[in-house]
Symmetry: C2
């Protein structure tokens, strides 16, 4: 194991590039999502190893529901399967997403918008499922707090798939986060990606504007 002086308290994960990976590897676009489950658990393991206390994974968003139905079904199914697999692990799970919409998978109602505890609870895992940044912010109007109020500030965001943008990922929690971009597509996850991001993070000073 490498030794790092600075350990981010909370990492944001944007696992992009599933469809591009599928096309590159001779699959249908929709099949990419299924191949994105295993990498999530590899990352989960290495984050626990390195003492990361909290991670937020971008599942799918209201915007993603504009995609064709086959893809929508595939990414929704992948999110449900990921959660079922997590039930046997050691994590405290919080699912944040708009459950008033039909796009929210009914299988996950029982975990929505409250934290549940699996096994030894070694890490807080937040999972954005049918998340919508406008719904999150507009909750300030209606409920005087963010819909994602239980998710704290993010220190480091790692995005796979080469794009350099947030795509609506937790706008309030991301204001001070350092971004690390990995060009490889998410289903090509390798622990070297995580280690590269951690090495880069060692040299980001945290000033919070001061």
């Amino acid at each position: 194991m490498e030794s790092f002086k600075r350990i981010p308290a909370h990492i944001g994960i944007i696992p992009d590039g599933n469809r591009r990976w599928a096309e590159q590897n001779g699959f249908q676009k929709k099949d990419g999502y299924q191949h994105g489950i295993w990498p999530g658990f590899e990352l989960y393991k290495i984050m626990i190893q390195y003492g990361i206390k909290e991670a937020t994974f971008y599942g799918f968003t209201k915007d993603n529901n504009k995609r064709e139905m086959k893809q929508r079904e595939a990414f929704t199914k992948a999110c449900v399967e990921a959660v079922k697999l997590l039930e046997d692990r050691d994590a405290n799970l919080l699912i944040i997403g708009n459950t008033d919409s039909k796009a929210f998978p009914p299988e996950l109602y029982k975990y929505a918008n409250k934290r549940v505890h699996f096994g030894r609870g070694l890490i807080n895992i937040n999972f954005l499922v049918n998340y919508d940044w406008e719904w999150d912010l507009n909750s300030l109007i209606n409920n005087k707090r963010l819909a994602s109020y239980d998710i704290p500030r993010i220190d480091l965001i790692i995005r796979w798939g080469g794009r350099r943008r947030l795509s609506g990922f937790l706008p309030a929690q991301s204001v001070y986060a350092d971004f690390y971009i990995i060009d490889d597509y998410w289903p090509s996850y390798n622990e070297r990606h995580f280690l590269e991001a951690m090495r880069w993070y060692q040299n980001c000073d945290v000033t919070l504007g001061g």
Copy 2:
């Protein structure tokens, strides 16, 4: 002039690295801000040349007020001077910031939170002065709209000074923005920076999650 197929409608400018530039060049840290005014006008000119219709400049934030008094005075003065120089140009200026705080420069009250028109109004320039992302979002609670509601979605954010983060820059408008990072410090601005960012932007596809 280069020719670009994709012209971002709205560019966000994070002019970071003024203090690091000053130290590197044998000045006191506070003196960096003064040297950041000229680059802003160079950028203003080239943006008009290339048909950019709107740009938002990060002036200073509530967080920046944690810095020592000499620096605070220097960056506040630089913002006021920049606005005075802009009065003689061709821009529609909107200053967004918290005017209820003592840190807001009284010289700029007359331009705060409403758009004013200078000359031929060739570009919309938004300037964040004593801006605070929490103040902006909390306006949803109190006024049912963002304090920055008049600033539209940003397509491209260019940050100088090498850091890869938003530092609280317009969280709601930045959700879909592509980030381009320039390692040089802001007072070392060169038009080649703008052109590099524009060239890179040609290959960012806009999906808005679809």
